[in-house]
């Protein structure tokens, strides 16, 4: 599998009188984990949704696909009526099969679904109602659905929100494996320690790009220290580890 490279060129987004993205230009190399970070309301989700063709942006966003053009998308949340009679299996079935899910899951998809649920530690929860899951469990299911069919580009919109440490580790490991297998991942992430650890490149957006590059380089800059007060703790931890 080979993931795509992505070029954002002079991307602008204006909704009503609000300028949400201003002249955003950067690129994502094939097969890397690229984290998009920034303050709340800074335009991260809008940028991702522009890339997915869901926002009326101007400028160019080019995705240079290879053979597999499947996008695995993990939305920020799943807003729905918690009392709806939809189980985890129902949800997984409706995302990947054509046969009405009330007629059951097709045999060809059953194994795939069980496999990805197992991978995110939700193998035993297939028959649980979606509305009865905790926020973190629901995030795991949302991640699992993004893996069927096998994507070459993963787009993750703050998937670790509400996840416990174990869940974060499971998801992080899975994305790293995906990238090592050649897939490209764009990950909106608030956890700068995690970004530092797993991302090959990052882009900090607050309407416009304020930081860009290898996190191990750019997070040493003066601007980064202002944007991420927690970086002190991070570098202290790193120094301790080195000592």
């Amino acid at each position: 599998m080979q993931g795509p490279s992505i070029e954002f060129e002079h991307v602008n987004l204006r909704l009503g009188n609000t300028h949400i993205l201003q002249d955003v230009t950067f690129s994502v190399r094939a097969g890397e984990i690229h984290c998009v970070v920034g303050a709340n309301g800074g335009g991260k989700t809008s940028l991702i949704r522009s890339m997915l063709g869901q926002m009326p942006h101007t400028g160019n966003i080019t995705i240079n696909w290879h053979d597999n053009t499947t996008v695995g998308y993990v939305p920020q949340t799943l807003e729905f009526d918690k009392t709806l009679p939809v189980t985890v299996h129902d949800f997984m079935g409706m995302t990947c099969q054509r046969r009405p899910v009330f007629l059951g899951i097709e045999r060809s998809h059953r194994q795939q679904i069980d496999e990805v649920l197992e991978r995110v530690g939700m193998g035993a929860k297939g028959k649980t109602k979606l509305g009865s899951l905790s926020g973190g469990e629901r995030q795991r299911v949302l991640y699992a659905q993004a893996l069927i069919p096998e994507p070459s580009l993963l787009v993750l919109d703050e998937p670790t929100t509400g996840l416990d440490p174990e869940g974060r580790e499971v998801l992080e490991r899975s994305v790293v494996e995906f990238s090592q297998a050649g897939g490209t991942a764009i990950w909106i992430n608030h956890d700068i320690a995690q970004v530092h650890e797993i991302a090959q490149t990052l882009t900090y957006i607050d309407r416009e790009i304020l930081l860009e590059g290898d996190p191990r380089q750019v997070l040493k800059s003066g601007i980064a220290a202002k944007l991420f007060p927690s970086l002190d703790l991070l570098s202290a931890g790193a120094a301790e580890g080195a000592g």
């Binding site: 949704r49 997915l52 063709g53 869901q54 996008v71 998308y73 939305p75 799943l78 807003e79 729905f80 009526d81 009392t83 709806l84 009679p85 939809v86 189980t87 299996h89 129902d90 949800f91 079935g93 409706m94 995302t95 099969q97 054509r98 046969r99 009405p100 899910v101 009330f102 007629l103 059951g104 028959k127 109602k129 659905q145 787009v155």
Partner: protein, 301 residues
């Protein structure tokens, strides 16, 4: 199709003549109602699950009200006032498209916009229909509002059958997509689903279904039959399979019992009302079961 209906009617009448089912079924009009119930029940029960999930219960009500105007227009342009299908379908489809277009363009919440359109459609429909009724001296309003399942003819059955086939052929392959689009439109879009187009398709399906059932169940009661069986099924089920299956069972049982009971026990009830009352009893029973059994217990707030 007339020959097929004749065979089916003959079969039901035969059963009644042999004493296997109640003798009232030996009347052709009761057998007609029974056949319609066998089509309407599963159809409304199945689509009703999606209506509940998409929170569009009152959309069908708005379309039912719009059908009043459709009937009035039909009478004015010279259609038969007992079956003005051309005007009803045309006006209701236009009305539904306008409603959905307004919803997409204004981004107003569905319940607010449907509420506005529902009131407008009722006002226009009642006004025009009462005006037309006075001119042609008939009680069209009663028939359109509450239906008359026991006076359906072969034309009504043809319209219903064609609508049922179209609905099944379109809704079954699109069921998962519609479901996903209502849970998370953004995710649905990434998975290649044209969310807006699908919304229009669903709106059109509910519209033609509502119009096809107006003559039989009544403009006021179609919405109830889309909503109540699905709501009752939702009370007791945790899976989509159970939800859809029980909604179809409840809806069909309500339709059949609603036709049978007034005949069997000589009750002074119109069939449309009896159908909805049957569904209401089922809903109340499921609600009591849900409240009583610990397996359904959930957070109190």
């Amino acid at each position: 199709m007339g020959a097929l209906y004749e065979v089916l009617r003959g079969f039901i009448i035969g059963l009644a003549d042999q004493g296997i089912i109640h003798y009232t079924f030996s009347y052709a009009f009761v057998a007609n109602g029974f056949l319609c119930a066998l089509v309407i029940g599963p159809l409304l029960g199945g689509i009703g699950t999606m209506v509940v999930i998409k929170r569009m219960a009152f959309f069908s009500q708005a379309i039912g009200n719009a059908a009043l105007t459709g009937v009035a227009i039909g009478v004015i342009i010279g259609e038969s006032y007992t079956a003005p299908y051309f005007s009803m379908f045309s006006f209701c489809i236009l009305f539904a498209l306008l409603l959905n277009f307004s919803k997409n363009k204004t981004k107003m919440s569905s319940d607010t916009l449907i509420g506005v359109f529902l009131s407008i459609s009722l006002a226009i429909g009642a006004t025009t229909l009462l005006w037309v009724s006075a001119r042609v001296n008939t009680h069209i309003l009663d028939t359109v509002m509450f239906g008359s399942i026991l006076t359906v003819n072969d034309t009504d059955m043809n319209v219903l059958l064609v609508t049922a086939v179209i609905t099944a052929l379109v809704a079954l392959p699109l069921y998962n997509r519609m479901l996903l689009a209502s849970l998370n439109p953004s995710l649905a879009h990434v998975r290649g689903i044209n969310v807006h187009l699908l919304e229009y398709v669903f709106v059109l399906l509910v519209t033609i279904l509502t119009v096809a059932c107006v003559k039989i169940v009544g403009a006021v009661l179609v919405e109830a039959l889309l909503l109540i069986p699905a709501a009752a099924a939702r009370n007791l089920n945790r899976t989509i399979r159970g939800f859809v299956a029980w909604s179809i069972i409840f809806s069909t049982a309500s339709c059949l019992f609603g036709i049978y009971a007034p005949m069997r026990w000589d009750l002074p009830l119109p069939s449309g009302g009896a159908i909805i009352l049957s569904a209401a009893v089922i809903f109340l029973a499921t609600m009591i079961i849900r409240m009583a059994l610990p397996r359904y217990r959930e957070a109190s707030v």
